[in-house]
Each structure stands twice: as C-alpha cells, then as structure tokens.
C-alpha cells in the first residue's frame, strides 16, 4: 500500500490498492518491534491511525524495505 508521510515520518494519506486515498485524521500509538534478529531480522514501526470517516487502522512500516502495510487482526 502507499502512504504519504509528513516531515516527521508520520502517515498523512493512506492509499489502498483500490479506491482513493484517505486522509489521516488522528495519530494514535506508535511503537517499534525488533524481532528474530537471530535469523531473518524483522524491524517494524507500527502506527495506529484514525482515517477520515472514522476507520481505525494499524499501519506498519517495514523499516528494512521501507514498505508500508496494514496490520490485519
């Protein structure tokens, strides 16, 4: 998925594969996960956002590949 960021690296617009992008209204919690460093390291930055219209989504950036994903429960 495509995410536009502000100067602090926080998501401002979230574009899914289908449909137009949605503006981020509120940024919630932000956290980082470093795991499995002993084999294939996983480094992620999670951002909880509320999109326009009220949808709550947890996004994460794969810090190694710089790709953004939606965390599905």
């Amino acid at each position: 998925m495509e995410v536009e960021l502000d100067e602090d690296g926080m998501p401002t617009i979230v574009k899914r594969e289908t449909g137009n992008g949605k503006r981020v209204e509120t940024i919630g919690e932000v956290w980082r996960v470093d795991d499995e460093w002993w084999r294939q390291p996983i480094v992620r930055r999670y951002v909880e956002v509320v999109l326009e219209g009220g949808g709550r989504v947890v996004l994460f950036e794969d810090v190694i590949t710089r790709e953004w994903w939606v965390q599905k429960p």
């Binding site: 996960v33 795991d35 996983i42 992620r44 965390q71 429960p73």
Partner: protein, 428 residues
C-alpha cells in the same frame, strides 16, 4: 436372574499399531505420507499429539507446543484430529480380529488383545495363530477376497504397521508386541516369560515419570534388575503400585484377556389397533420403535450394525426391510434413514397390522473402546464435527476446492500479530 457369560483367555496376542490415529490420517490422505505430519491434540489444540517419523526426524516430539514444533520444522503439516473416524477404523480392526477369536479386549486406540486359548485346535501352533491374525489384517489392508474366512475389507493401513506379541497374560503379550519389528511378531512360549521379561527395559512397565526416575536413580534399568530386588523392599519404597510393578517384572502376573459377549438381537414391536397403510404413520412408528430398542439396557456399550424391520400385513402377507450401516451407530436418525429409504422405494403391499424393529448385529461402542466420545460433551462435539463435515463437503462440491481453515493458537505471546495464530487446512 441371568448372568452375562464372561469370555476370558489366559493366552493372549497383543495386536499393536503404533501411531494409529496418524496412520488413519495418512491412509485417508496419501499425499501426507511424504510430508512431515503432526496431529494436534483433541483436547489441547496448542500441543502436538502424534508425530510422523519425518517430523520426528526434524526434532518434533509428542507433547510439544505447536509453536515449538513449527519452529523446529517449518514445513510441518498440522492436521486436526478426527476421533470419530479413528473410532470407526478401530472398530473395523476389532471386527477383523473378532474373526480370529471371540475373545477381544480393546486396550487403547490401536492396541487390542486377542484371547488365544483354544485356537490351537483351529489353527495349530502359536506361529500359525499369529499368522492367522496377521493374515486377517493383511487381507483387511488390501481389501482382497481370500479363501481364508478371515478376509475383511477396507481397513486401509499397511500391514507393516502391525506388530503382534504372543504370551501368557496381557502384559507379556504387550511387551512382546512392543519388541516386535514392524510387521513382525514375537512369541514368548509358556515357561519362557521370566527369561524374556528379565532382559526388557523398565520403560515397558506402566510407570509414572517419578517412579521411573527413582528406579533409574537406583540403577534399576531392566525388569530383571527390578525382579532381583526383594518384593517387600520394592513395596516399602513404592507402596502398592510397587508390588504390582515387581510382580509384572517377575512374570508373576498373568492378567487374562476379557472379551465381551455381543448382545442377542434386540426387538421392539408394536401391534396396531387397526391396520395402518399411511406411510407417515409407519415412519413415525419406526422412529419410536428404534428409540425403544436403543433404550434397551443390553444395547449399552454397543452400536447398531444391522437393523431389520418386519411388518405383518393383512391377509397373512409380510414385508421386510434390512439395512447394514456402513458406520455402526447409536443415533436414531442414522439407523432409521436407510429403512425410510426402503419404505419409500418399496412400501408394504398392504395395511400393516404389526411392526417389529430388530437390531441383529452390533459393533463395540465408543465407551467400550475407551476413546474420545466417552461423555456427553464429547458426543456433542462429535455431532458438531459431523455437521461441519457435511457443510464442508457441500462447499467443496460447489467451489471445487476446500476453502476452509481451522484457526489454532501458535505463539500467543508473539509481538508480531500474524505469528499468534496459524491456519490448518480443514479437510473433512
């Protein structure tokens, strides 16, 4: 008062199929044979229950958590257990053994004792009897017709999986089976028990881990070493359980195989006040009679294999319908279904004066097998599973492939949400 006759036999042959449930799965889904496979537990789906040799080679062990198992063997194919299917397969095995001897005692899933007293007259020496048992199994495996009266069909597990142990008493025969090579047999002749048992490792005894550990600390590693200790010394250390262990190790216990006599046919009958020809009324009467027959105390512990309905018609005519259930059942709907079909296809030619339902053949019930569907909760679970299986088959039929998965908890503690759960193919 009538007394139920007891079928017992001091001579025993233990038939053992290790990993029975897993073998049932690979027999049903041959594509699993080449994969590392594990069955998850039926009570605790977070733990692995039975493990295929390929998975064991990768370090997976029974009792491990699913996450540990996947960590050790990422290609591990996890299967959900299907206790009802294993029950049915084990019933078939017991039925095949029942062709060899009338004294059959199921011990656990995949392990049963065959009473061998008196079989010499039919088959000859112990080797011949063991061969007869294996022959029945082999025919069962291939589903072939044979000249042997022991031929059975549809028990689709390779004969190399069967191990047979022969001896006096259940314990000796079990130890002998546990020593047999795959597909082979070990015969312990009368009088040789002490020498045979003395060389066996402690693990063949029914020990709890603590007793096992304590005996190892005492440097007792074989049954011979245990039997060499004074009986009273063992009793003073381990109590009553110790006495039993010592006696088993010394070959002083020879528990007979105890079979059960299959019940006589159970009949429930109804005489109508006036002759009946409405089909709905007959169907209702059949349901009621099946209920009544199922409620007979003699049926307890047995599932119905063959059911027959007889009707006496006006003018001394009669009507008969008989059904052999593929899966023995104690469920009214399942028993009634084939009878109702026959009633639809070829109804009685006249009005019915008297209707009679008769259960003529039985298969050991789930309670008898000491398996899973022992209590009401497990039975309800089995019912739900059956309904789910039917629905899944319907979906597969429509979509040409199965799209159903079972969610299991794998690493609930993981900080990566997608690692917390895994999907297992749901194959009905």
């Amino acid at each position: 008062m009538t007394r139920t006759p007891r079928l017992t036999s001091d001579g025993a042959a233990c038939c053992w199929i290790p990993l029975f449930a897993l073998r049932c799965e690979t027999a049903r889904r041959p594509e699993l044979a080449a994969l590392p496979v594990a069955l998850v537990g039926s009570d605790d789906t977070r733990r692995v229950w039975q493990v295929s040799p390929l998975a064991r080679h990768a370090g997976v062990k029974s009792g491990m958590t699913v996450s540990q198992a996947i960590g050790l063997c990422p290609a591990l194919k996890l299967c959900e257990p299907d206790p009802v299917h294993y029950d049915a397969q084990f019933s078939r095995l017991l039925a095949a053994l029942g062709q060899v001897s009338p004294v059959i005692e199921p011990a656990e899933l995949g392990r049963a004792y065959v009473g061998t007293d008196g079989l010499e007259g039919l088959y000859g020496a112990p080797e011949k009897i063991v061969e007869a048992i294996k022959c029945g199994m082999r025919n069962a495996e291939c589903g072939i017709e044979s000249e042997s009266p022991l031929a059975h069909s549809a028990f689709n597990i390779p004969h190399s999986a069967f191990r047979v142990g022969w001896g006096i008493g259940k314990f000796v025969s079990w130890v002998a089976a546990s020593r047999a090579t795959p597909g082979g047999a070990v015969i312990v002749r009368s009088g040789e028990e002490g020498r045979f048992l003395a060389a066996q490792p402690l693990a063949v005894l029914p020990l709890d881990p603590d007793t096992y550990r304590r005996l190892r600390q005492l440097d007792v590693r074989t049954l011979g070493a245990l039997a060499a200790l004074p009986e009273e010394a063992v009793v003073s250390q381990f109590g009553r359980a110790g006495r039993r262990l010592w006696r088993l190790a010394a070959g002083r216990v020879a528990e007979p195989v105890v079979g059960r006599v299959a019940p006589e046919p159970i009949v429930a009958a109804l005489t109508f006040f006036s002759p009946v020809c409405e089909r709905d009324l007959l169907v209702h009467a059949i349901d009621k009679l099946i209920d009544r027959a199922l409620g007979d105390p003699r049926r307890s512990g047995w599932r119905v294999q063959v059911v027959r309905v007889r009707a006496e018609l006006e003018h001394a005519a009669s009507w008969l319908a008989e059904a052999t259930l593929k899966e023995p059942s104690a469920d009214r709907e399942r028993i009634a279904a084939p009878l109702k079909t026959q009633l639809e296809r070829s109804p009685p030619a006249g009005a019915v004066e008297r209707l009679e339902v008769e259960f003529t053949a039985f298969a050991a019930g789930a309670t008898e097998l000491q398996l899973f569907a022992r209590d009401a909760q497990a039975a309800a679970r089995a019912g739900r599973r059956r309904a789910l299986r039917t629905a899944a088959q319907e979906i597969k039929l429509r979509l040409k492939r199965s799209l159903l998965y079972h969610v299991i908890e794998v690493q609930p503690w993981s900080r990566l949400p997608e690692r917390r759960y895994a999907l297992i193919d749901y194959e009905p």
